[in-house]
């Protein structure tokens, strides 16, 4: 294993002494080592591995990297330290008593994420998987107050997911007789789907995604940033792992298309109506995972219909989107962290006019918003552009059966894309523009430099590949080759990326010209916003968050599960008018919550165990794994 990992281990020591600064420094150091290593793997060496022989029943554990894991590795190695850095300052903003354990678990989480990529042995993989879930759970438990329930639900959901994985791995083991990942090739349908579902829990795909919007708002900004931009990717990594080494029938691909479409659509509907800033971002994670998934589907479809171009574009798009999402999503979460620190609330109806009070964050967030709604000049556009191109290759397919899914994805993608744009314009407008809707927003002010720097870095990372897509394309190129996709068309894509850059050049030049001309020509004067000459305008005279989506809500009603309360009392004249509505996640309300309640009630029987001492938690986690081990072996 690499020196990078070692450094990260060492980083845990300052964590125990609450020295978050050293902790961060070590993280940056270690990550840079790791990043170098991953890059090396990605570009030069095919794989780098060594076998670690352990006592049975574990047997020989191969620790190796392949292009795929290296790809994700790079994402983590670049993303995590930024998150840690932001966290360092965020914790200064929001001091907590349990700093020690928080830092510790933060470190453990990052570590386990990295280790996952190296391990190619299902048992050990599971162990780290569990460790990751546990540690992230403790990271989510930030402030003692509100988030107990959400955190616990999160843990339980993760355990259920893990259960699927365990079952799947176990069956795979029975089938192939080895714990090594090589045993996953050409596996039976049942175990494969069990594993896929298991990963789907982490990846945040529709029926299993309800934990995301619940856990994120309560977690501190840096944790939710790391979780939804990177932790979630581990799930996707697992899925790709399976997909890359198993063939699929057209029917199955169609099914995947359906799942991802539904997942993204479900997310975007909530995205439109949600009023909690962080929850919005959480939903959009689900949506973006869905889009990436659709890219993968396109790729598979291309392979199916042997349209090499389509396959290449599909996978390229998917990888690009995963990569870019980890950038702009982190950026947005950190921005939301800043907004929370400045206003002390996450309800967008409490905000407004922040652009005047925190101009810096406003500009950064604008970039993030543009990226997440895939507008040109940002990286988000490049990935969606590629996926769209893949879809437009579909008409060349020989068979209706191969063509239909392609077109379906096309329509869905376009629809989702448009809705997302609307949703985020709405969010941005309400949060940053207009006039302040509450005293909190009135008194908001810009935050310390340390909280802005990471966002600036990420914004740069959004714009650079956005305007010069070739950078990003070079990054995924080896991966594409590794997947054995059509390099000829890839070269063409790179050429096109160049063209796009030129188009952008034209766009920017034109913009600059018009803007400057205006500057030179026009004499500006300031006046009150035109409100029909009514001199006493109040901030309440601007649309509330529901106004923006009402025309759409009229259409998406069936997909929006909301509780609304309308009061109108009048004698001769009105005496009271009130309205309030909440958009809820049906899955969460109807299934997850009751179930997890039941489980936690069951767990209360062991309340003695649940003594809040972290080490005992680990003990139980490990014990759980031992039992699992015994069970698996016994099975054999």
């Amino acid at each position: 294993m690499s020196i990078g990992i070692l450094i990260l281990f060492i980083a845990l020591i300052p964590a125990l002494w609450k020295r978050s600064d050293y902790f961060v420094i070590l993280w940056i150091l270690g990550s840079s080592f790791l990043a170098y290593e991953y890059m090396e793997v990605l570009y030069s060496r095919s794989v780098q591995d060594f076998i670690l022989v352990m006592p049975p029943p574990v047997g020989s554990v191969s620790i190796a990297l392949n292009k795929l894991s290296a790809f994700f590795g790079v994402i983590f190695a670049l993303g995590l330290p930024v998150g840690m850095f932001y966290g360092h300052f965020y914790l200064k903003e929001h001091p907590i008593d349990a700093l020690r354990s928080h830092l510790f678990w933060l470190g453990v989480m990052g570590l386990s994420m990295h280790c996952l990529l190296w391990i190619r042995h299902s048992l050990i993989f599971l162990m780290f998987w569990e460790l990751m879930s546990l540690s992230s759970f403790f990271c989510v438990l930030f402030s003692k107050r509100s988030n107990r329930e959400a955190g616990l639900n999160y843990l339980i959901t993760m355990q259920v997911g893990a259960a699927f994985l365990i079952a799947g791995f176990a069956m795979a083991y029975n089938q192939s007789g080895t714990f090594d990942f090589s045993g996953f090739e050409k596996m039976n349908t049942l175990p494969m789907y069990l594993i896929l579902i298991g990963f789907a829990f982490k990846a945040g795909i529709f029926p299993f995604a309800s934990w995301l919007p619940q856990a994120h708002p309560v977690a501190p900004a840096h944790v939710s940033g790391i979780m939804s931009s990177m932790l979630v990717k581990t799930g996707f990594y697992g899925i790709l792992l399976i997909i890359s080494i198993n063939p699929f029938s057209l029917l199955e691909i169609g099914f995947f298309c359906l799942v991802f479409s539904i997942s993204a659509f479900w997310a975007v509907c909530h995205l439109l109506s949600e009023r909690n800033l962080k929850r919005v971002l959480a939903y959009s994670t689900v949506e973006n995972v869905g889009i990436a998934g659709l890219g993968v589907c396109a790729g598979l479809l291309g392979l199916q219909a042997n349209l090499p171009n389509m396959a290449m574009l599909g996978f390229t798009g998917a990888f690009l989107h995963l990569f870019f999402h980890s950038i702009f999503k982190a950026q947005l979460f950190y921005s939301s962290g800043n907004i929370l620190s400045a206003t002390g609330t996450l309800d967008i109806d409490e905000m407004g006019a922040l652009a005047k009070r925190m101009p810096y964050t406003a500009v950064m967030t604008l970039i993030g918003i543009m990226a997440i709604s895939a507008l040109p000049l940002t990286n988000g556009f490049i990935s969606e552009f590629t996926i769209f191109k893949a879809m437009f290759e579909a008409p060349a397919a020989a068979h209706l059966s191969q063509l239909m899914p392609g077109l379906m994805i096309l329509a869905v993608l376009a629809f989702i894309g448009a809705l997302a744009i609307i949703a985020f314009i709405r969010i941005y407008a309400i949060v940053f523009l207009g006039s302040p809707r509450s005293a909190a927003a009135e008194n908001a002010c810009e935050l310390r430099r340390g909280l802005r720097l990471p966002i600036a870095v990420l914004s740069l990372a959004i714009l650079l590949p956005g305007i010069l897509p070739n950078i990003a394309l070079r990054f995924v190129k080896p991966l594409i080759r590794w997947f054995g996709l059509d390099m000829k068309h890839f070269a063409f894509l790179q050429f096109q990326a160049l063209q796009i850059s030129y188009v952008y050049l034209i766009l920017l030049v034109l913009f600059a010209v018009f803007y400057i001309v205006r500057k030179l020509l026009v004499k500006e004067k300031r006046g009150a916003t035109w409100a029909c000459a009514y001199p006493r305008v109040t901030p309440r005279m601007q649309s509330s968050s529901i106004t923006y989506i009402q025309p759409l809500a009229y259409f998406l009603k069936p997909f929006m599960y909301k509780k609304s309360r309308r009061v109108k009392e009048e004698e001769v004249f009105a005496t009271k008018v009130e309205y309030d509505e909440q958009h809820l996640d049906a899955v969460w309300e109807i299934i997850v919550r009751p179930v997890s309640k039941a489980i936690s009630r069951f767990l209360l029987l062991f309340s003695r165990i649940h003594n809040g001492k972290t080490n005992s938690y680990i003990a139980w986690g490990l014990a759980f794994l031992v039992i699992l081990l015994v069970w698996v072996v016994g099975f054999r």
Binding site: A353, A429, L521, W530
Partner: protein
């Protein structure tokens, strides 16, 4: 080159046609054909009053939106069938450039924090949700039938008189769908009334309520250009491939005249019914697509 010229000169001129037609229809003297240019140049020479709550966004929005629309226009065939720029799949970029220009204007509108503009924005944005898929499906359908890769090529090749009765239907349907998109995008009757004088019922107008002078001129021009783009696409869809510019101008004029006639004979819809109508192009596109699928992949 000739296309760039038409981008510069035609949009406002053709808007004039609509005014003339409406005037003639209702029997009034009406505005001159050149009125739009006159207003444009007048506005260029005026100062601006910006809202106190306005941020940098309001300032840059018109310029950016115009830049984006012009860039998009470079991919579109106008007088000459050969677009200035074109590459395989450029229509995606074009569509997203439109979205960019609309998105930034939406932000700018809400920048002023007036409740009218909030309403207008939500109304206009909700249309896009259904227009984008429609547009993409239309393109997909066209690709199916002509197999070309870039916007200009597609619309140059596809046409009514090409072989096969189905193709005729297809391109007619698509023309209709595109025309509805035109009406929506340019916010004309029956979706919106550019002549209305009531903040509460405006859609596009109310978004620019706070703009003046130069910026306003730019916005007007951008709107005109957008209509012009769609109209040109329609006209290229109708006329035979690589036919003379005369044909193109003829059909183009017809499209505008028809708009004028329609506006004189139709009342606008109730606001919450607009969306239902925006679904029409989507469904038409799907219909056409199925027709072409049946046609090209020859199932049953």
């Amino acid at each position: 080159m000739i296309n760039i010229l038409s981008i510069i000169f035609f949009p406002l001129l053709f808007m004039g046609i609509i005014h003339r037609v409406k005037a003639i229809m209702v029997g009034r003297k009406g505005k001159s054909l050149w009125q739009n240019q006159r207003d444009f140049f007048k506005l260029l020479q005026k100062d601006e009053v910006l809202s106190q709550s306005a941020t940098i966004i309001s300032r840059m929005a018109p310029a950016l939106s115009l830049a984006a629309t012009i860039t998009a226009a470079l991919f579109v065939p106008f007088l000459s069938t050969k677009a200035v720029l074109s590459f395989r799949g450029d229509f995606i970029l074009v569509m997203y450039l439109f979205t960019l220009s609309k998105g930034i204007m939406a932000l700018a509108a809400m920048d002023s924090g007036s409740s009218f503009q909030g309403m207008g924005t939500s109304r206009e944005l909700s249309f896009t949700a259904f227009l984008e898929p429609a547009f993409f499906l239309i393109i997909a359908a066209l690709i199916l039938s002509v197999g070309a890769g870039s916007l200009s090529a597609i619309f140059a090749l596809q046409n009514v008189v090409s072989a096969g009765i189905w193709n005729v239907f297809a391109s007619l349907f698509i023309a209709i769908a595109l025309y509805i998109i035109l009406l929506v995008e340019s916010c004309r009757v029956p979706f919106d009334d550019p002549a209305t004088h009531l903040e509460l019922t405006m859609i596009h107008e109310v978004m620019v309520l706070d703009y003046s002078g130069f910026s306003l001129a730019v916005i007007h021009y951008t709107g005109a250009l957008k209509i012009f783009i769609y109209a040109s696409l329609i006209s290229h869809l109708i006329i035979p491939p690589y036919s003379s510019a005369v044909w193109y101008l003829l059909v183009l004029a017809i499209v505008y005249i028809f708009t004028g006639v329609l506006e004189s004979l139709m009342a606008r819809f109730r606001m919450n019914r607009n969306l239902e109508l925006v679904l029409v192009p989507l469904s038409i596109a799907m219909l056409t697509l199925t027709i072409l699928l049946v046609l090209n992949t020859g199932v049953w």
